[in-house]
Symmetry: C2
Subunit: 447 residues, 2 copies
């Protein structure tokens, strides 16, 4: 019986796919917050290398992956495509469930796919040091790994609630040589100002981004790296879907439904975007983006220009947002605690290509434990949202079984503290935080 | 450039290799501790199913892997063979270093290779529940995974020092539905007796084995499972070396040196034994077994009949041993803290097929961090011993570069607490514990 489809090193895609030129009605450009005019690469060059800015703005559908990047990706890529026979059986469904196992990377998630590329382009342009933020710790681990491969220094601002809950993540980053600090920190003006007002804040990705950006903007040797949201990140993550397409073909299958969890949007989009041309050519594919009910940018937010960070230092991005100063509850899927959504994913929702679905954390942990017991692999709390989505899709009409492909974005071996709290009954579901969102939405920039 | 060699599901070996009939001068049989006579399968049937006992005593060179076992192994097997180009470069050596990455299993180590087979044969014979011990937590995680796949209950006696230092391991076992308790525990007579004498003992594998054996012997629905040492475990682990041989052939290479870390001996032997027939046919292969200086059964022990456990409940095994009541220092490679060594590995040392080498823990952590920074994968503390061995072999004569194959037995993502203590300078090297060993050696059973 087919369990998993693997590809050899030399079957790995050698080009990334850029969905932007294929998006109906394209993307709205990022705006300069001062002038409200479209922002060109020059102004962004203070924090990003040109190699990445060119990709950010590119209208090429395919972009070559540099040999040096391929060599590092080969440590774990191509990743396996796996058929979840036992989960299907447990659900008593005739639906076929496939998952792309991004948990096989050395830090356990899909994040290094972009981290390696970002470290490479920075190194190539003489940058010595990268500053970044991390939520659950997966992006920080990934960038630490990537910078160690290319000989760069790395400073990670880690959202405080994760810093406290996930000490192993911190140690992983330190093993790769990174300097890790809880955010808000006393190392930046932004951090100090927030700590003064809210000394007990659990922090948020928005705050940590502001700190990392300030770090990069105030040091000549340092640039900034973002783990999701931006176009070039989704470009790098497209390797997930490009591999999956090859593997699904080898399995003789085509997905009716594609599912992923959405924080900033990169793992979902990475799997989904290579199937967009098929969709546009008339193939029936349902793209489902799973998000937490407590931080529902797609189902509870608004499509608008907004800052990517709390301190209002980023360009204005046209995206679904809950408002840049929204601080989500401390749910355990730290990687999904972001107020905004990638402009590419936002455009796919606007064009009705993607259906967003919100779920609560307890049902996701329950799905994750069922997956562990049936398929033998423990998912990260973020990934539990995708599994919950796949289960919903596989069981909603037993008379019309679908072929479902979801992104297993990462394993949970370093997140067992969250599972402990789930088993102990200490976790609760958070309702849609209506009042807080109304407040933060009132602070959207006026365009 | 070749980075890694992968095999498809249908290229996985379908038979295990049993080295016993190929061992020069064979193995000494296990003895009944009461009669000092060779022990047949009947008496062992109280704690092991016949399917495994037949394998334990088998003189067949190849044994079919049941379809049900193959199906579960396919979750992660075949595992990749990887060329450590970057480590080679960092060492400035022309030696070629390959490693078999057993860290890709769902619990991060080679242990499930045997756990899955053991759970299967127990299930087949109607057993409802398995009892076992675990040192670092890797075997316990593996058996928990395996029992969840075959619908068995699982009770894990976890060496207390690991229980305290590795809370994530405990949560992993719980996720797979196992009942985990620190050993010595108050659940068994053995545990209670030891706790009375030594309430602060860190525990040891020997104690935990006694507790699990007592549990299995006193409950009709329960049998016992051991994660290393025994012949049938090494049989199951031979899949590592069988795959590696195919993969090395695909890479156009043959190993001059084969390296593994030795606790009970199963991961080292799993990689090594399929190459024994080549060795016996005259191929020059150096087999190197790395062990901790603080628990040096091969380099500091004696080849003798001894118990596998502290409470003297196991059959007498003919093996290198430090004495069954030796309690090793609490070094962080918990999986290497065992007083004995697999009879198969012991025989290979006696016949001068295997060279044992002892190393201290700090040099191993140093090797592990270098490996993480160059190859991008963080090794388990046990695996750091194998890496140290590979580095020694790759650098000892730069004018005579060898092709080295080592077993990357597991990743360290769930052992980061040990790395933290290493970074903080809290770990120290332990010298050969001469006095304690002299004491425990005096208690070897008289044959």
């Amino acid at each position: 019986m087919i369990k998993k489809i693997v590809l050899r090193d030399d079957e790995m895609p050698t080009q990334w796919y850029n969905v932007v030129p294929d998006l109906p009605n394209g993307l709205q450009p990022p705006l300069d917050p001062e002038t409200k005019e479209p922002m060109g690469p020059d102004k962004l060059a203070a924090v990003f290398p040109m190699g990445l800015l060119e990709q950010e703005m590119s209208d090429q559908r395919f972009i070559d992956i540099p040999e040096e990047v391929l060599e590092v990706l080969k440590i774990w890529r191509p990743s396996p495509l796996v058929r979840a026979h036992n989960l299907e059986k447990a659900l008593n469904t005739k639906a076929k469930i496939f998952f792309k196992n991004e948990g096989v990377s050395p830090v356990g998630s899909h994040k290094p796919n972009s981290a390696v590329a970002q470290a490479f382009y920075n190194k190539k342009e003489g940058v010595k040091r990268l500053a970044t933020e991390t939520g659950a710790g997966q992006w920080g681990s990934a960038l630490s790994l990537a910078t160690s491969k290319f000989g760069l220094e790395c400073k990670v601002y880690m959202v405080r609630v994760s810093f406290d809950q996930k000490p192993y993540r911190k140690s992983i980053m330190q093993t790769f040589g990174a300097d890790v600090i809880p955010s808000p920190s006393t190392d930046t003006n932004t951090g100090r100002a927030i700590l003064e007002k809210m000394p007990d804040t659990p922090g948020s990705l928005g705050i940590a981004i502001s700190e990392a950006l300030e770090d990069a903007a105030t040091r000549d040797d340092t640039k900034y790296a973002l783990g999701s949201v931006l176009n070039h990140v989704i470009l790098h993550q497209s390797i997930i879907g490009l591999e999956a397409k090859k593997q699904m073909e080898l399995a003789g299958e085509f997905p009716d439904v594609i599912v992923g969890c959405c924080g900033g949007g990169s793992n979902f989009a990475g799997l989904a975007v290579p199937y967009v041309p098929d969709y546009l050519e008339g193939k029936k594919i349902r793209f489902v983006g799973m998000e937490p009910a407590s931080c529902p940018s797609l189902t509870g937010g608004k499509l608008a220009y907004d800052f990517g960070d709390v301190a209002q230092t980023t360009p204005l991005l046209y995206m679904y947002t809950l408002g840049h100063d929204f601080i989500p509850p401390g749910i355990h899927a730290g990687g999904l605690r972001y107020h905004g959504m990638a402009p590419i994913v936002s455009a796919m929702v606007r064009e009705n290509i993607v259906d967003p679905v919100k779920v609560h954390q307890l049902e996701c942990f329950e799905a994750g434990v069922l997956f562990a017991k049936t398929e033998g692999i423990i998912p990260a709390p973020e990934t539990c949202h995708a599994i919950r989505g796949a289960i919903i899709e596989a069981t909603k009409d037993l008379n019309d079984p679908k072929t479902i492909l979801f992104n297993f974005s990462g394993h949970g071996l370093i997140d067992m503290g969250s599972f402990d709290r789930y088993y102990a009954g200490e976790l609760k579901d958070y309702d849609y935080p209506e009042e807080e969102i109304a407040k933060s939405m009132a602070n959207l920039p006026k365009i």
